[in-house]
Symmetry: C2
Subunit: 145 residues, 2 copies
Amino acid sequence: MKISTRGRYAVRVMLDLALHNTGEYIKVKDIAKRQEISEKYLEQIISILNKAGFVHSVRGAQGGYQIADDPKKFTIGMILRLTEGSLSPVACLESESNQCERCDTCETLDVWKDLTAAINNVVDNVTIADLVEKHNSSISYDYVI
Amino acid sequence: MKISTRGRYAVRVMLDLALHNTGEYIKVKDIAKRQEISEKYLEQIISILNKAGFVHSVRGAQGGYQIADDPKKFTIGMILRLTEGSLSPVACLESESNQCERCDTCETLDVWKDLTAAINNVVDNVTIADLVEKHNSSISYDYVI
DNA sequence: TATTTTCCTATTGACATAGTATGAATTATT
DNA sequence: AATAATTCATACTATGTCAATAGGAAAATA
């Protein structure tokens, strides 16, 4: 029941791009340095985000990445589902084709349905913008104290 | 983000033992047949339940297993945590020693905390007795219709 | 042309999952 | 006492995923 680094790093990449969205393109190298993540591994992860249109890229010197839309538009759920696949804790709830023959009489299925709903309810109601806001408010606390 | 067969089978074993709790000891072979799970694999899983005291066993001919207490006493969460380990989706929330150095400034940590709480809230509020009840009520529907 | 960057794909080591296999220990039955 | 039935313990295996690492091609800028 773990979210892999792939999914967690993807969220951090999106947040990093949102926080540093000055108009310039942001290099993987810089994200990797800030987030303390392997450059080469990050390349793979950001490539997933890129293919899905969550970020857009410019190649070559002075190239890099930008977040592709308003941070409000990206929920944690979207990012995790993209990078991790379905967040349902059992395969039977992913698609019709994954259903087993016991589904009709499965006494435990409702638990997994409730669990899936609870998970979705959390991750679909937090956006990158929320994390940006949280970050900014914690920054200003540092100032005040 | 998947619950493995180990955890899911463990829940089904506990439910099976609760449903067939006539006073006789129930053989792995019978559970395996009803649940369509490999006998040998089930042995390993029920052995975990046994060591934790969730079931108790009698060896030898006519031996087998019984659920060790009132089905109300066993939540899905207890069973899953026993067989799967922590249900927290990130390692940082499992124990002090798993915390990384970025914990203090980690903007995503709150999401994982909320997610953990949501998961726990579901699995800790469903007991084996609830599943028994659900099973019995669906049985009686079959009668009526 | 040289440099910087993204893009693409292959490979690797470690680990977990989902079993299978073998047999020892224990108890009831005959 | 012998046999059969059962749990208990441990080792093994095949497959897959994770978390990278590695090497270079393609594109854009300077």
